[in-house]
Symmetry: C2
Subunit: 237 residues, 2 copies
């Protein structure tokens, strides 16, 4: 029987493991010690270790692969898309392509500086691209990153559709949470040109800040979407 | 030490209690037996019961009041607003007022019939109102309900700003989840008149279906919002 004031044992094991992952001591993709080794280390049963790992898996901090072991979770194109992309059509979550991708370095605007908490001399890398769905342009997107963190991006020949897996594998930056503010706005002349619609067409403007596990902002993004054939989906419980 | 394949004991107690609440055996506002009585009933320690109740409180199924005991959670105007309302301004979540409130019975449109899963002969109660923020009209709202479930609404003299607490106290219907689809759209002539804006002004159209604990749709709502001074906020983890 558990003591009155004690946390369940597995919760304490879970916290100890989560600390190693969130602190970066154990990097994304790393194989964890097996259940027997962890049980030895913490002086608990393998059942308790298994429950701790199950709880970490439920929070997407680890991934369990039958017969291969448990790994520190790594963002993949699929998991990133599933967790952080909310545009749907009647068939479900859409997977837009990208065209007219441009990457450039610039002095930040006031909004970029504030959103990314940039140092006084810090510059930004801007990625602009048009996202297409079934060959129609539907999103005019601008992404701003701190040059200090992401300078390697400038040497890349191509930019993939999903970026957070790239941030993790190439830059060691894991996006853990995004905050989005949505508004309806009239398409500007530039946006209308990129989306092939009349100036002033209503677009859904999604302004997003992405944060890493420590709570530091790592990306600022504005996506202006035509919503004739797609919509933004949200569940509240 | 816990057994290899056993759920923690408190999880099993939690599930048994959750079942009584979700099934309606224990109604909203009901005082639960005290920890000693529950421990006796389940043959576990009071510490285990306490953990089960903590877990239920974290899921908003019960509310614990120091010195008074634990109650089946009841929607209040505040908790409803906090859980199901996502419009913010720079100062935080806004609390709009209502004006021009109308309540009427009608034959359902095809969308109402589908969204509410109405019986063939079923009619709807429509509530239309204009929501204001700092005395400016910002939301043109239409709410559709099954007349079979909510006929008592027609006799009310006033309709409160938050409805889900009313649905629970007066109609025994608890909203547990809402699904929202958001689009940008041009204000129609009727919406423009109610929002005091030019026809065609971009509005954020939020289409919502609310579900009870059993997964049955109980409300369909379309809110068309001016987003000059407010925005829809969403967090993804």
């Amino acid at each position: 029987m558990e003591k009155l004031d004690a946390q369940p044992l597995y919760t304490r094991v879970k916290r100890a493991l989560a600390e190693r992952i969130l602190s970066g001591i154990w990097a994304p993709g790393r194989l964890l010690p097996n259940e027997f080794q962890l049980a030895e280390e913490f002086g608990v049963s393998q059942g308790t270790v298994r429950k701790a790992l199950d709880a970490l898996a439920a929070e997407h901090l680890v991934e369990r692969h039958q017969g291969r072991g448990t790994f520190v979770a790594r963002h993949t194109s699929d998991t990133v898309h599933f967790r952080f992309f909310q545009l749907y059509d009647a068939g479900g979550r859409i997977q837009p392509d990208s065209r007219d991708v441009r990457v450039a370095v610039a002095d930040p605007s006031g909004r970029e500086r504030a959103a990314l908490a940039l140092a006084p001399e810090g510059r930004v890398i801007r990625i602009t691209r048009t996202r297409t769905h079934e060959d129609h342009p539907i999103i005019d997107e601008q992404i701003s990153l701190s040059e200090a963190l992401f300078s390697g991006l400038l040497e890349r020949e191509t930019i993939p559709n999903t970026l957070y897996d790239l941030y993790q594998t190439d830059f060691g930056i894991t996006v853990a949470r995004v905050e989005e503010n949505l508004r309806a706005a009239p398409a500007s002349e530039a946006t209308a040109r990129r989306l092939d619609c009349p100036v002033g067409t209503p677009v859904l403007a999604i302004e997003r800040v992405a944060f890493d596990y420590s709570g530091q902002p790592v990306e600022w993004r504005v996506s202006q979407c035509l919503t004739d054939s797609v919509f933004y989906h949200s569940t509240l419980k």
